[in-house]
Symmetry: C2
Subunit: 343 residues, 2 copies
Amino acid sequence: MVTIRSNIRAMSGYVPGEQLNDPDIVKLNTNENPYPPSPRVFEAIRAALTSDSLRKYPQPLGDTFRRAAGRVLGVDPDSILIGNGSDDILTILTRTFVPEGGLIASPSPSYILYKNLAEIQGARFVKVPFTADWRLGENWPKADLAFLPNPNSPSGTVVDSNTIERIATQVNVLVLDEAYADFAGSPLRSEDFASRPNLIRTRTLSKSYSLAGIRFGFAIADPAMVRELIKVKDSYNCDVLSLAAATAAIEDQDYFRERRAKILATRARMAAELAKLGFDVTPSEANFLWCRTAKPMKPIYEELKRRKILVRYMNYDGYDGLRISVGSDAEIDRLLTELRAIL
Amino acid sequence: MVTIRSNIRAMSGYVPGEQLNDPDIVKLNTNENPYPPSPRVFEAIRAALTSDSLRKYPQPLGDTFRRAAGRVLGVDPDSILIGNGSDDILTILTRTFVPEGGLIASPSPSYILYKNLAEIQGARFVKVPFTADWRLGENWPKADLAFLPNPNSPSGTVVDSNTIERIATQVNVLVLDEAYADFAGSPLRSEDFASRPNLIRTRTLSKSYSLAGIRFGFAIADPAMVRELIKVKDSYNCDVLSLAAATAAIEDQDYFRERRAKILATRARMAAELAKLGFDVTPSEANFLWCRTAKPMKPIYEELKRRKILVRYMNYDGYDGLRISVGSDAEIDRLLTELRAIL
């Protein structure tokens, strides 16, 4: 009889958003970017596609990416930790700071993966509730690690810097999960970490750089902290092609800004149109909208799915709604047409 | 003051083999394959290089790879767990079976990463010594998890199936780390896992399929076990390009066998020539040779490095030697020429 750790045996596992293969489907459920990555990404991958780069191990710390990202974002390259998606980064952070029986805190409703990270680590998990208007209270538990998605999912709302400061003084380490921060325009500054060594920011290229398929994320933290995190990561956690893609993507800021502007424009139009349809739409600084109505929400999700539009139905202990990614204008037009027919 | 777990703070971290950028260097230190990957790998990556595949999330479980590998290796696709390199798999296994304060065992001298995995998990680590002729004793501790590299590094030696059976009865879970098994010709059979549910085998495409750069490994275990391991892995731990590359590589068995035969032929010649030079060369079933002489070993490593040949100097509490990867014939000729000049 094999003994599996009881915390693993007991957990149900994170269920990612549906990945349907049907090319006809309008996929608005996992916050992928509707636009292709920069043409420079394709060039960089093709250039990296050599026998030598495939057969040899990649750069363990991703120094080329770190230098490029440091230059573009205005941070010290040594403050950057590369990850196989930001999920990898969140796992590394959990393992570095949270002992078995330790405590992870995060707001609620929020990204449900944090609870799974606590379960895998054999740690306790405490939810800090958002207020009805998506603000956070003053009192946080003395957690080993707190995850604060900023902007938050499913709400798309942002917590202000004063609140962040207050939380940071109460927890051991505060991770700002900035997967969607590029849509809110939060700058990264090395100074923030110099003054506040227990603050760590995480970023992903999945959403704002259209690279969910290649798995690349990174953390920004005090360089002394990064040196500890490096001990915990797998030696070669990012592959040679994703490193090339990520470097090219982050270097093409003109392309990034142009596509970002399109998504923000679509988001504004989409929010206005969904409100006209009777949805209560939370003002979002991310690439998705959290939509609720007095009507039952799950049948709307199901009817949309039947009509080949996939959105994310989310239910937090009875508080439910639809999280709808900001797609292309054509995709959103189709969504709106179908919703008008359904409602 | 940030609290980092004491086990992390105390550890020094795994140091991977040197990755020098000098294109003139003959790199025989990290057991990379000297030959390019199959041409089909390049085709598959180019075919997967579309806007949609980059911007969308990849298959969470790698179903296309699992079906292909299942067919080629003759195992149930549901018995396969995909990993971002076999390091990712070893991490997942550690987290599934080893609680904080638990016990990991592995033979010694062996792959030094296992000790780091124990340190990161906050677990104890026990070494079981090999005999002088690289066999393993009868008595193993009741470990939560035992790692047995087969073939072993640095020796390249294989442990017979009777010994494996005996170890498996003594530990909770036995992981056969078969990173080099393709060079020994160990078949994979689903039956082995049906009869022995605490046995898990891990494989990598880094060495035998020339894909160290793309990071892809997998485990084979009882499907019920794989379902537990899936809970612990990151949702999207393998990217779309590495999945495409791995699938194409494992499907091209003709290419694989041809390159494998070349490496085995070079290995035989290299072993004979190194023996003529006075080295004690352990008979190897991997793509490297463990070489020792009565002379001090480290100066030989250093002199080779000065001459732009990089081998791995390893020192296990005073028992030291050179682990030299089986390169191309031209690379090994250069190694032998330089060694003749040095010795």
